[in-house]
Assembly symmetry: C2
């Protein structure tokens, strides 16, 4: 199964394709909007099959290929996998079969963690699938083999965020349950290895205290996108007015409004596209 | 889109088809195994697209039709929709297009609630999609128009159950948050309107105390299946040895083992079938 992009004469006007299993990847879209205001961003959230985090590698890879194909059909010049689970399980395969650059969130997050840690002990929070994949350990060790990586699957955090319990005693207790074992190991850096987690930034920051640095891959991912666009001569003209277009595979959008508001993102009409 | 069943000479050996968005419907399969030990049961859990509870009616209906088709291809003589969300949103459509009897969990649960209530105040817990559909209110009012129905969406309970936090302080607090408004309205009967919830039976029972009766549709659904099989001459011969076969659409099965163990169900080899 190979997907190719039609040749397209006006590189500058081709969009950046961004996808996530759902809405959480809007944290990455927001970072891209902030850094690259001239770029058009097409965001696809696979809300019909969300979440990916408890599913198997073969299913996650298949879904990621299908959603990437939607973005390529719309002329995407670069694909951003704004979902840690899909980044962990599907980026290698996407790079094999797609003819455009593919950027995930794992490598930028790993690089930020390696840059941040002083004591070489890094914690990683993520979905079950992300943690089981070992993708963060591999990416961190590729940069610096001696780092101790403590990873913890946190499957309740996404449902708590989607329920809107962002500042809530129950959420704090669940956070504590997940973080305490990592804190006991003396980590000084904690990777928010799921694009939903920045919405819990305040709770997490309060819980870990000032001695642990939180690393969120959204900003680092956006910087990586900028440098790959520049290296490939794919950047939009500075004079272009960028924007964000959102497509979902299921029209249940209550969380979309919560997320867009909390991120200060302007989301216009939301398109619907059927999958599987 | 119409699905038909091939004619099949040995009615007694045709299976009962049971489906759920995931694993929770095994509570219904367990009730069927207990009541109808001669019946073969084919269970399909749509684990590739679980959960249905936050998705839109159109998506839930489409997934339900696809999974029913899998069961019919394997000769199912009757379809049990062992998922409250799919029962709420898709049973009417399935009855239109399928040539076999279709039994959901809403009507049996509503009948049990109406039989149980003394003060005509019934609470219903369910997923967002089930509660928004108003299906329990309609089914209860069809039986007895004067009953006050208080429904509460409880989207965190399925993730807590799948995390295995069945007897846990956090789960108790979340249960309290969801139930307190219904208890304040003076309900004397509470419908567990999601097939996962019986796994929280002890926590729920302890929380509501002796004055509120818990109604779980699994047993009532199994009784309805028995009577429809008998009325249509579709029952398996008493001499037949029944059994359970499980097919999943995604192979992540950690929760399958938890559920099967807690229900005392024997699940042999699990088959895998690709969808969407």
């Amino acid at each position: 199964m190979d997907y190719t992009v039609e040749s397209f004469p006006l590189h500058g006007s081709r969009p950046i394709g961004v996808f996530d299993s759902g809405i959480g990847g809007l944290t990455v879209a927001a970072a891209l909007r902030g850094l690259l205001p001239s770029e058009q961003i097409h965001y696809v959230g696979d809300t019909a099959r969300v979440p990916y985090g408890g599913k198997s590698p073969v299913t996650i890879e298949r879904y990621s290929l299908e959603i990437s194909r939607i973005l390529l059909e719309e002329g995407a010049k670069l694909i951003v996998v704004a979902c840690n689970t899909a980044s962990a399980l599907a980026v290698a395969r996407l790079r094999e079969v797609l003819d455009v650059p593919v950027i995930g969130v794992i490598e930028p997050g790993a690089a930020a963690a390696v840059a941040a840690t002083r004591n070489q002990r890094v914690g990683v929070m993520g979905t079950r699938a992300t943690v089981q994949s070992g993708a963060y350990e591999r990416a961190i060790h590729a940069l610096r083999p001696g780092v101790l990586v403590e990873a913890q699957a946190c499957p309740l955090l996404v449902p708590l965020i989607e329920e809107g319990w962002l500042e809530d005693g129950v959420t704090e207790q669940v956070v504590g349950r997940y973080l305490d074992p990592m804190l006991a190991k003396g980590i000084d850096t904690l990777v928010l290895g799921c694009t939903h987690y920045p919405l819990l930034y305040k709770v997490l920051e309060r819980y870990v205290g000032g001695s642990v640095k939180l690393v969120d891959s959204a900003r680092n991912c956006a910087l990586e996108v900028q440098s790959v666009l520049e290296a490939n001569g794919l950047s939009a003209p500075q004079t272009q007015q960028g924007g964000l277009r959102v497509t979902l595979t299921d029209p249940s959008t209550s969380f979309l409004r919560v997320a867009a508001q909390s991120l200060g993102l302007e989301v216009g009409e939301v398109l619907l596209r059927s999958v599987g």
